[in-house]
């Protein structure tokens, strides 16, 4: 169990070195130097980029400033995905630090959601938690919590307080012993090569006969191409939290320990780089 606690800590304190550079076409009064920051994997872009905004506002004329948005190599970055998911999906195998371009104009209405205050992020975050609990416990646990408990979850994430967050979150990770696990595992499988945003389906942690499902079983069900058959070379990388767990890892354990703070297991499937 001490190992599991360490795993949780490692997941929570995971960081991605990022370099924010202002878009060249943005008009500046003086030269805007790039801003380096270690972004937390588990948080959201608009939540942790206040310093970035302040830094670049020094350079940009106030009348030109609209809502700040980010893009990487032409792809607008959706702020409502966790930062770790965005990195793993777009820039895992590139050179670090991750270079993000900061825009202040021409907000892409079709690609991104507006995020005008932290309450929008809070609403999105809480709705993800509730959706996850609906899958895990039929929303019983989240509904039994009081408003202050929900607030504590959000404050823990916002202020980067591991203990404060997990004091509440462990309730969401409990399950009745006769069940042996959650009702359904909350997961999302992201892929780069598809129009679908992500795959999310009902999947039980154990078979009706009692056989615990593993990551392999999930992939077999949801994305069979990801599993390499004997003899073939591995074609896809299956990433969770920036690492590739073994296919025999039990799904229930993954959901408990490698989920993001929004209680979802975000899985990224990338084609193996061919360099």
């Amino acid at each position: 169990m001490a190992d599991d606690k360490d795993v949780l800590r490692d997941v929570w304190f995971g960081r991605i070195p990022t370099c924010f550079a202002l878009y060249q076409d943005e008009v500046t009064e003086k030269e805007a130097e790039p801003f380096y920051l270690l972004l937390p994997r588990v948080s959201y872009l608009t939540l942790v980029t206040d310093k970035v905004k302040k830094h670049f506002l020094k350079a940009v004329k106030p009348e030109d400033v609209e809502e700040m948005w980010f893009e990487y190599e032409g792809t607008p970055l959706k702020w409502h995905y966790p930062i770790g998911v965005l990195f793993d999906l777009h820039a895992l195998n590139t050179a670090l630090p991750w270079s993000i371009t900061v825009h202040f104009k021409n907000f892409p209405e079709r690609d991104l959601l507006h995020c005008l205050s932290n309450s929008v992020i809070e609403a999105h975050f809480m709705s993800c938690i509730k959706e996850a609990d609906a899958l895990k416990h039929k929303s019983q646990v989240i509904n039994d919590m009081q408003k202050k408990d929900h607030k504590q979850l959000w404050m823990g994430l916002q202020n980067d307080k591991f203990d404060q967050f997990w004091a509440m979150n462990r309730k969401l990770m409990e399950y009745p012993t006769e069940e042996g696990g959650f009702r359904y595992i909350p997961f999302r499988i992201y892929q780069t090569m598809s129009d679908r945003p992500f795959i999310q389906k009902l999947f039980r942690p154990a078979s009706p006969e009692g056989h615990t499902h593993t990551l392999g079983d999930l992939l077999k069900e949801m994305y069979p191409a990801a599993i390499a058959h004997d003899g073939d070379a591995k074609k896809y990388q299956v990433l969770i939290q920036g690492i590739e767990p073994l296919l025999e890892t039990p799904l229930q354990w993954l959901s408990e320990h490698l989920s993001h703070p929004d209680n979802f297991l975000h899985v990224c499937i990338l084609p193996v780089p061919t360099d």
Binding site: V7, D10, V11, G14, R15, I16, F35, L38, Q241, T249
Partner: protein
């Protein structure tokens, strides 16, 4: 197996995470933080240099120093606030600890109370079951009681009916008895009349025949009247003799205890005494001594009065055990017991035809008994306890506690007359001709009442004479010239009827109150009996 496999993927994951952190975080952490610091510094420098270029260095500097001061102040304030907050935290912690302790105490109390409640509930349940048992028992008892009540009322009803039947039967029986008594009376009367007629006839026959005078008198029942006259003269002489020259003849202890009654038999040879020792003793007077002849037993309590029948063959004694008894004198055997009174029988007398007995009792009634059927024929309620009785052919006279002498007609069963005296009547005696009645009363007076005129003829008293008890008996002499009575101080007083004065006082030899006196029909002896169980025979010497 599972653990090892679990370990494998867990270890793999931990390794992977560590590697990732090494690559992504640790490599860049230091650099980025240094870079940011440099950036800040350069920004600061930029601001400062801009201010220097603009020439407003002084102002900028002032501004800067002001800003610095402001920042310092903010910093100190923040420190203070932090201190306060820390203090608050400590206080709150203390409060929490207190509250925790309180909670613990309360919980302990609660558990205590719960155990108490459990025990009380147990007790309550036990009491409830006990109460139910008691109620059941109570109900059972109530039912039994009701059942018993019903049986009781049924039995009461039965008893009532049987007593009614009984009373009916008794009244019918009494009616039958009365009818039989009437029949007997009618027969007796017929018999009497027949005998009278026969007697008349014989007298007439005898008068026709001349009889030789014989010096030797033959006593025969046919010469009853002559005989009586002769005896009377004899007796008169004798009693006068006795009165003038009487003296002690003998005395002796007669009974164990008080002697209540004494009577000479008509034949003048036997006398009977009765006392509290329940016996009637018979004596024979032989040459001036009383020789004991025998004792009659059978009574259950003391003897109150004695009488012989006119033939001297039966003796009737009334007793304190509410009954009168009759013995035959010759063989001392108890013949009849007459029960029926509800109080002590104080006097019992034969009626003149010797077939009926009248008894007077403390229960204020007089009962008339028939000897042939041995049942009580009539009961009259006298109104007062009857102390003594005498009978004539038609009349029964009774002396009572309420100072009255009542005269009863036998046939009519009703009071003919009543005489009131000044004291309780203790004794009655008839003279030989049955024309005079001697009464003794508690006011220490003896009176002679003329029965034809119903007036008091003579009154006798003496300074020392005190009537000792309610049953003190006095009597006439056989010739009715003297009256003798015993006093409470032990003296025997003899009065002369004609003069009305005390003739003799015999006060020696008796040590206690005299209960009764009796004069022998021959006139030669007087016997007095006293409380102290002595009997003294007086004779003329």
């Amino acid at each position: 197996m599972a653990d090892r496999r679990g370990d494998t993927w867990k270890r793999h994951i931990s390794e992977q995470l560590r590697m990732r952190d090494r690559v992504q975080r640790q490599a860049f952490e230091e650099i980025i933080s240094q870079y940011n610091r440099l950036l800040e510094k350069s920004d600061m420098q930029a601001v400062l240099s801009d201010a220097a270029d603009g020439g407003m260095r002084g102002d900028i500097q002032q501004e800067m120093s002001q800003m610095r001061i402001k920042h310092q102040e903010e910093l100190t304030e923040l420190h203070k606030k932090r201190g306060e907050l820390a203090q608050n935290v400590i206080e709150l912690n203390n409060q929490i600890q207190l509250k925790d302790k309180e909670i613990q105490r309360n919980e302990a109390k609660i558990s205590e109370y719960q155990t108490q409640i459990a025990t009380l509930e147990g007790d309550c349940r036990k009491l409830n079951t006990f109460l139910q048992d008691l109620e059941r028992a109570n109900q059972m008892l109530k039912d039994e009681y009701d059942a018993l009540q019903i049986t009781f009322s049924a039995l009461e009803e039965k008893l009532r009916r049987t007593t009614e039947d009984n009373q009916e039967l008794v009244s019918r029986w009494m009616a039958e008895k009365a009818q039989e008594a009437n029949r007997l009376n009618a027969e007796n009367e017929k018999d009497c009349r027949r005998r009278q007629a026969k007697l008349q006839k014989e007298l007439a026959d005898a008068a026709k025949e001349p009889l030789p005078l014989d010096p030797r008198v033959q006593i025969s029942p046919q010469n009853g009247t002559n005989m009586n006259l002769f005896v009377y003269f004899m007796m008169r002489g004798r009693s006068e003799c006795w009165a003038k020259r009487c003296g002690l003849s003998c005395f002796q202890e007669a009974h164990d205890g008080e002697v209540n009654a004494v009577r000479f038999s008509p034949g003048s040879r036997l006398l009977a005494t009765g006392g509290m020792d329940r016996r009637v003793k018979l004596w024979e007077v032989v040459s001036g001594h009383c020789e004991p002849k025998g004792a009659l037993t059978g009574s259950n309590a003391g003897i109150t009065s004695i009488e012989f029948d006119s033939a001297g063959s039966y003796l009737l004694a009334a007793s304190n055990d509410f009954a009168s008894r009759i013995w035959t004198v010759d063989d001392f055997r108890l013949r009849h017991t007459l029960t029926g009174h509800s109080g002590k029988v104080l006097a019992a007398r034969f009626l003149l035809d010797n077939t009926r007995i009248v008894s007077g009792s403390y229960d204020r009634t007089l009962k008339l008994w028939d000897l042939r059927s041995k049942v009580c024929m009539k009961t009259v309620f006298a109104g007062s306890s009857c102390n003594d009785i005498v009978c004539t052919e038609q009349c029964v006279m009774s002396g009572h506690f309420d100072k009255k002498v009542r005269f009863w007609d036998i046939r009519a069963e009703s009071i003919v007359r009543e005489l009131e005296l000044q004291g309780r009547v203790t004794s009655l005696d008839l003279s030989q001709e049955r024309t005079e009645l001697l009464t003794c009363s508690r006011d220490d007076l003896l009176k002679i009442i003329d029965l034809r005129t119903n007036t008091v003829r003579h009154t006798f008293s003496a300074p020392g004479f005190k009537c000792g008890a309610d049953w003190t008996r006095v009597c006439f002499s056989p010739d009715s010239n003297y009256v003798v009575g015993g006093s409470a101080d032990g003296g025997v007083y003899v009065w002369n009827v004609l003069t009305g004065k005390l003739e003799r006082l015999l006060d020696k030899h008796h040590s206690s109150a005299i209960n009764a006196v009796s004069w022998s029909p021959s006139g030669a002896f007087v016997l007095s009996v006293e409380k102290g169980s002595k009997a003294v025979l007086w004779s003329d010497l």
